[in-house]
């Protein structure tokens, strides 16, 4: 009994801070929405009306956000289930986000900060797209080959970072920032070459991936939700097992916790760094593959959106744990999906989502502040990451 009780209180302690941080961020975002409307300042003279108009606009925005991410009764006219179309969109966006988030999470656990998920995502998308449109393979095999191609490309691209860090000590943050830009220019160049140019098109878009390579849709053609979300959840479970139940995972965590101790214990730090980054690259690349094979069906210049950058906020909100990362990715997926509806139906731009994302992470990173605001004592703190310098 007491062990269950302990576990419950432990979980409560672990999720209190993220929940409060999210609440504060939503609140701040609401204030921003309410008071960025210049028209309400003409109501300055009657404070009640002033405030109610402000809160109404914030409320409208958040309502549209929920409509766009979970359930929209306006879509139910033909079929009640169609009202859940927004939820399907949430999962479509969450799938690549889970995978890129896991990439950053795994790196965190090994003491590395992978800002390069964006570039690795791009390389994964390139690999998946190339295998997807260039070869003719039977069903299932084609999709698997495309996923593997993506993991190979992105794994090598990510591994390069680990290799450089292990061999020369080049800081992974600097290298990955630079590689992100190199990736996007490489993609732009690639899309201008004959191989990747779609016939009859001049704009940067690759040929469509063949039907055999596309990930199957789960609930028919009315919903875009596809196998990608299950791939993402499965991989998250595998990473959980890797980190908690295997020797390799123990080595990763040891190097992350204390490089010197790991070295003294006989672990090969260069090998760990390189292999962690290969896996991280492959994870982010898988995200790119899911995006290309599951929902976009073609490689474009903007294929990566901001999946690789959102991944960092996802991993931080998920406190560098696979389960946390999944939940955080679902939450941000919902914000993204809902943000589009909100921007279309109200005057509130989708960019408020970025503000909320940044504030959540800022509040999580500063537990002292959240504790002070809510006068809490018993809250598990921090991102479990000690600050390290360029030379560390």
């Amino acid at each position: 009994m007491s062990s269950i009780k302990n576990k419950v209180s432990e979980t409560m302690r672990a999720i209190t801070l993220p929940l409060l941080a999210f609440f504060l961020a939503i609140l701040s975002g609401g204030l921003l929405i309410a008071f960025s409307n210049p028209e309400i300042y003409s109501l300055w003279k009657s404070p009640l009306k002033f405030l109610s108009t402000g809160f109404a606009s914030a409320g409208d925005a958040y309502l549209a956000l929920i409509q766009g991410s979970i359930f929209d009764q306006n879509l139910t006219s033909k079929n009640f289930l169609l009202g859940f179309y927004p939820l399907s969109e949430t999962f479509v966006i969450a799938a690549p986000l889970i995978l890129t988030g896991l990439s950053v999470t795994l790196a965190f656990r090994a003491g590395l900060f992978n800002i390069g998920a964006q570039g690795q995502f791009i390389f994964g998308a390139i690999g998946a797209s190339y295998v997807g449109f260039h070869y003719n393979l039977p069903p299932v095999i084609h999709a698997v080959a495309a996923l593997l191609g993506a993991m190979l490309c992105a794994g090598l691209w990510g591994g390069l970072v680990g290799f450089l860090k292990a061999r020369t000590g080049a800081h992974e943050v600097i290298v990955t920032i630079m590689l992100n830009y190199i990736s996007i220019y490489f993609l732009l160049w690639l899309l201008s070459t004959q191989t990747f140019l779609r016939k009859g098109r001049q704009d940067p878009i690759a040929p469509p991936v063949q039907e055999n390579a596309q990930l199957p849709k789960l609930f028919g053609i009315d919903y875009r939700i596809n196998l990608g979300i299950f791939i993402a959840l499965g991989v998250a479970y595998l990473i959980h097992i890797l980190l908690t139940r295997t020797t390799v995972g123990f080595q990763f965590r040891s190097v992350g916790a204390n490089t010197l101790a790991a070295k003294t214990a006989g672990m090969s730090v260069p090998f760990v760094m390189t292999s962690v980054m290969v896996i991280c690259g492959a994870l982010a690349g898988l995200g790119g593959a899911v995006q290309v094979l599951g929902s976009e069906y073609a490689l474009t210049a903007g294929v990566a959106g901001s999946f690789g950058f959102d991944a960092i906020t996802v991993a931080l909100l998920g406190r560098a744990k696979p389960l946390g990362t999944v939940l955080a990715a679902l939450l941000f997926g919902a914000l993204r999906a809902g943000g589009l509806t909100m921007q279309a139906n109200t005057t509130t731009p989708i960019d408020i989502v970025l503000v909320i994302q940044a504030l959540v992470v800022l509040f999580i990173a500063a537990p002292t502040m959240v504790r002070a605001i809510f006068r809490l004592k018993n809250v598990k703190s921090g991102t479990d990451m000690a600050a390290k310098g360029w030379n560390g």
């Binding site: 290298v175 201008s192 960019d351």
Partner: protein, 422 residues
């Protein structure tokens, strides 16, 4: 007795630099000279407007030009090797050699075309301006031990504030005054969270960038687009021509016919360089960045100094951000800094965390950017995307220690808590 290598790290770096230059020069001779099929003439145009004319145009055969400049580059690298053996500096030789290789490349790339040489350099300077401001903000932060990834956010905040205020007041001066304040406010977040709460500064900088991009894009769509006439139609600065100096051939119109922001940049670079190496403040800043415990033990207030320097950095970067709006196009655009803050970071690292080095790197990156633009119009054998990659590849090469290792200030990014380990 076995022979032991007695080269110091500096000498090793020089040796590797000199030989790399030699290899590049030979590569240039082969690639741009021997393998060059095209012998169409290439024309350099040196006149911009109304300076005292020295040389007007210079036309030469493309292949001869490539040969000539490549051979010059080889001679410079040989000179560099001689100097390194005599244990002397090789900076001048490297610069001349690099310049020769660049000219050989231009002869090859622009065969049969005209290169507006002065215009090329002028454009390069303009593209470098935000990079230099950003890199100076980086110097101020990182030399005192605080990593600044948020340069992008500081620039963007400055650009936004300057654009909006200049538009509302229809006065560029107000824009210029408000921009540094906006940058400093962003720096305040960095300073409070990094120094007071000891949060990992890379994460923090990253999150601040997301926050600023989100905020400015949100306000841009919510206010600047619907109320464009009042909120986003600011005036722009006019160039100020400095008498006599602006008439110097070649250099005059490039450096001395600019807006006030560029002149402020000259002053800021000079002040930061001199104060960092010649004043008490500079010595303390460097001490705090390298060894805060030692600095603390002689009575320097580590965190106060860091806090102040981070705020200074915000002022500098914010002013640099004003260049995007009041200094160039007037109106603010969504995410208009477009990664310039990260190139500034690259310049800071490539310039080995020194003000002058960072300025040189920023100029080089600005030049590469502008050259790419000019060549993509005239058409070249190299895809423009690869030229755009150049600054990033150069930075990776620099941090991996291929040509001499760059080293960050020892305590850069490590929070200082008195008494604690860190």
């Amino acid at each position: 007795m076995s022979k032991v290598s007695t080269l110091t790290p500096v000498q090793k770096r020089r040796r590797r630099g000199a030989f790399t230059l030699l290899i590049l020069s030979i590569g240039s001779l082969v690639g741009f000279g021997i393998l060059q099929k095209n012998t169409a003439p290439v024309t350099y145009r040196f006149v911009l407007e109304k300076e005292w004319i020295a040389i007007n145009e210079w036309t030469l055969d493309s292949r001869t030009g490539s040969y000539g400049f490549s051979i010059a580059a080889i001679l410079f690298s040989l000179w560099a090797i001689i100097s390194f053996r005599r244990n002397k500096k090789i900076q001048l030789q490297s610069a001349l050699g690099g310049f020769s290789i660049l000219m050989a490349f231009l002869c090859w790339a622009a065969s049969g075309k005209m290169i507006p040489f002065t215009g090329l350099l002028q454009g390069a300077l303009l593209l470098s301006v935000p990079l230099i401001f950003g890199a100076m903000a980086g110097v101020l932060c990182e030399r005192s031990g605080v990593i600044n990834i948020a340069i992008e956010g500081q620039l963007l905040a400055g650009a936004f504030a300057a654009g909006v205020v200049a538009s509302l007041t229809q006065n560029t001066t107000w824009g210029l005054l408000v921009a540094p304040i906006a940058g400093a406010l962003i720096s305040l977040i960095l300073a409070v969270f990094a120094i007071k709460f000891s949060i990992d500064q890379v994460i923090l900088g990253f999150v601040i960038n997301v926050l600023v991009i989100g905020m400015t894009s949100f306000l841009y769509k919510k206010l600047l687009i619907p109320y464009q006439n009042t909120w986003n139609s600011g005036p722009i600065l006019t160039p100020i021509e400095i008498p006599f100096l602006s008439k110097i051939p070649l250099l005059g119109p490039i450096f001395f016919n600019q807006t006030i922001i560029v002149y402020l940049m000259y002053i800021i670079v000079a002040v930061i360089h001199l104060s960092l190496f010649k004043t008490r403040w500079g010595l303390r800043t460097r001490a705090v960045g390298e060894h805060p415990t030692a600095a603390d033990s002689v009575g320097i207030k580590v965190n106060n100094l860091r806090f102040r320097n981070v705020i200074f950095a915000g002022l500098v970067a914010g002013l640099g951000g004003a260049y995007f709006t009041v200094g160039a196009v007037g109106a603010f655009g969504k995410e208009m800094t477009a990664g310039k803050g990260f190139i500034a970071l690259a310049a800071l690292i490539f310039g080995r965390w020194s003000p002058i080095g960072a300025v040189m790197a920023a100029l080089l990156f600005g030049f590469a950017d502008n050259l790419q633009g000019v060549l993509s119009i005239t058409g070249t054998p190299i895809p423009s995307e690869f030229m755009l990659m150049a600054p990033y590849i150069a930075t990776i090469i620099a941090v991996t220690g291929f040509i001499g290792r760059v080293r960050a200030p020892a305590a850069d990014g490590i929070p200082y808590n008195r008494g604690g380990s860190n």
